[in-house]
């Protein structure tokens, strides 16, 4: 019997955080959950204590953690820059402050208040944001990159802090999920869906064969619970960074097609744009936005993202955590599209779901 009593989840009102809270409560109803987030929850749960505040404030974090004295911290708060800022460096300091300093603050507080287990939400982008390479079936032997995109760099830096903090008293572990999707997703499914209205669905950059990992948010939440259980018992995952995926690599194009299919849209024709041409257009777009000063929408980075191969082997997660994705991609997309259609409907937009 694992004797954990108190769990602090940072970022617990967000997309991933709320899924983690849900998974913790589902699998360990006896655990006491506290959520620390910048924003209050939309619909608060009675069984949860909510604290509002900023993790970049070291004094505040110390006070909060000291007050709760949790056994476990799941640190999932972080900033994923919006797509428009993903390839630029404008938001570097902002992203680093939240993702790296925030994590440092959490670790310091955890150490001083005697936390036993610290699970941190990293990202596969610590490796894969380095666009110079393709990543086929990569595993944990692959090096992280400190020269990539701001998000990946911040995750690399923070991961090093988390793993270095692991000692006899505090067991730490970093999880590196791939791109997430699921109900409540405000980035991936909405932007894929937006292509329908913009008439962009027939265009394929590259050959559309590049495999890519995408992970259902509930599965990543499960992995967090498994990691906590591990750190509180065998500690075999202590000091490790572990890839988490749905173990179903598919081409990015197919993911989009399936989302569109759920909304009853099928591209009536297909145009393949060669990578070199797309890069050129991306470059011109970058120059234009550089001159006009608006954030980039199309860039060489987004072209590389669309046609890059990035998927990992799930071997380590299976071995150390006993992780197995519970929800398959197909089912996950279906759930997510129903959720997004409802959100669109309540916001007054037209988001008709296909009858299946």
């Amino acid at each position: 019997m694992i004797m954990a009593t108190s769990v602090l989840v940072t970022g617990g009102t967000g997309f991933l955080g709320s899924a983690i809270v849900h998974a913790v409560q589902e699998q360990h109803p006896e655990w006491v959950v506290t959520v620390l987030d910048l924003n209050p929850p939309n619909v608060p749960k009675k069984s949860i204590t909510y604290k509002c505040g900023n993790i970049t404030d070291a004094v505040f974090v110390n006070t909060i953690v000291d007050g709760i004295k949790p056994d476990v911290i799941i640190h999932s708060a972080g900033l994923v820059p919006e797509l428009a800022f993903r390839y630029g460096r404008e938001q570097r300091d902002h992203v680093f402050n939240i993702n790296v300093n925030g994590t440092r603050n959490m670790l310091t507080a955890a150490k001083s208040s005697g936390v036993k287990a610290f699970v941190w939400t990293g990202s596969c982008t610590a490796i894969t944001d380095d666009m110079r390479h393709q990543y086929r079936n990569i595993d944990e032997r692959w090096p992280t990159s400190s020269r990539s995109l701001i998000y990946g760099e911040s995750k690399t830096a923070a991961e090093a802090l988390v793993l270095a903090a692991c000692d006899e008293k505090l067991a730490t572990c970093a999880l590196r999920p791939s791109v997430l999707f699921g109900p409540g997703d405000y980035q991936l499914i909405p932007s894929v869906h937006a292509c329908i209205a913009k008439g962009e669905t027939p265009f394929v950059v590259g050959d559309g064969e590049n495999l890519w990992d995408v992970t259902y948010v509930g599965n990543v939440a499960d992995a967090h619970v498994l990691a906590v259980e591990n750190l509180l018992s065998t500690r075999t995952a202590a000091g490790e960074a572990i890839f988490i995926s749905n173990e179903e690599p598919i081409p990015f194009r197919d993911f989009c097609l399936e989302v569109w299919k759920n909304f009853g849209h099928y591209p009536s024709y297909e145009v393949h744009i060669p990578v070199s041409l797309a890069s050129l257009v991306g470059y011109i777009a970058e120059l234009v936005t550089c001159v006009t000063g608006t954030p980039t929408t199309l860039s060489r980075g987004s072209v590389l993202d669309a046609c890059g191969t990035r998927y990992c082997s799930g071997g380590m997660a299976r071995k150390l955590l006993g992780y197995k994705p519970r929800v398959g991609i197909e089912e996950g997309i279906r759930i997510s599209c129903i959720d997004y259609a409802q959100r669109l409907k309540s916001s007054g937009a037209v988001g008709k779901l296909a009858h299946r």
Binding site: E209, L211, P251, E258, K261, Y266
Partner: protein
Amino acid sequence: MVKSTDVLYYAVHVGELRNIIQWQTWHQPVHERKPEQEAPSLAICFEFLDQTSRSFSAVIQELHPELLVPIALFYLILRGLDTIEDDMTISPDEKTPLLREFHNYTEKEGWNYHGCDRKEKDRELLVQFQNVTEEFRKVKPAYREIIKDITLKMGNGMADFCHNAEHDVNCVNTIKDYDLYCYYVAGLVGNGLTRLFVESGLANPVLLERPQLQESMGLFLQKTNIIRDIKEDSDEKRRFWPKEIWSKYVDKFEDLCKPENREAALNCSSEMVLDSLSHADQSLFYLAGLKEQSVFNFAAIPQSMAIATLELVFRNPKMFEKNIKITKGEACRIMMQSTQNLKLVCEVFREFTRKIHKKNTPRDPNFLKISIACGKIEQFIETIYPSQDPKSIMQEPAAPIDPTSKEGKDKAAAAEAKSDLVFMLIAIFGTLFSISCLMLGIAYAFGARFDVAFSELTQGKLSKPTDAGAAQSIIHKYDHGEL
């Protein structure tokens, strides 16, 4: 026999014709049969082997001498059993005991069977089965036991399904039934062959511990053939597609081949292809356990053919109209690639998996599942043959170009184009040079005075002398010097 349509086909598919010629001229069998040392009954057995199976006969005959005869006879015995099972004219009362006792007949001196329908194409094998039994009794007891054991299990399995059929016309109802049926008629073969390979010391004994891998080999082949043969089987009133699958798309099995149901039938066949694809990675895994080249070839060729066939039938409406098969040129190329090593076989699998993926369409109800299955195969190949090494990335932080990446390929292609250009220029100028030499040589042989022309030119006289006399006097001047 060469058909005129074949001539036309290969006239426009020269690459495939080249494959056929390459295979027939360059392919070196690992081992060769020695017909001159064979008993007459064995020679007859090999004749039957040629008649009953075009595809297997060649690979079997190249097997290691230790396994050549046992596996050839194994094939004939199972073919005999299969012929009885397939013959719908034999009454169940007669058929069932035949199937269940067939393993005993394999050693019975002089045993043969005349009860098959005259139209059954392999009837003659059973009529002259005494040749098989005679040779089978000479096989090493260890091999014989394995073969008999498999024959017993398969005969019983077939009889069970035959028995079911009496009560329910669709004997293969659920996907579970389908898997079980394929296990009896093909999975067991994988099991028997593995035991023969290991017994003879030509394969890794670890394979014995992985029954699922052994069966996947057989299941992958069998399921693919069942999909491909839909038209023929449907015409002959045989049904192997499980009702659990086809009933989602059509009301009656016969409707699958009706033109008005083409779209539904295609979607149905996609689900069948998806089911078959699930065995592909395991069959590659199995091949990794085979060490001896002839055994590897024997196992690998049918697997490669199966993935190619799967690609051929995937979303191909023709399969409901007629029998379709891989062209001979394509088959020769696949055989060439499959008789070397596992890496090349993996390439074949990757190639056809991608082709399947290319044909996949979101309107197919199994669109994403097929996409995931294709991804799984690629990932599996990547696990056994990684195309990248993390060490190389760590050692070379200065943007190494992965040769398999797009940029790597582009670079390589650019370099190749450049060297091509150089060679082309050399060839052009070389040709021009030799033609010029030839022309000058001919002119000289016919009496052209290059010495005269040259020194006149050096004196700046570019135009021809106006009259013949002037020309003559110039030549004369050179012939005798300036006297």
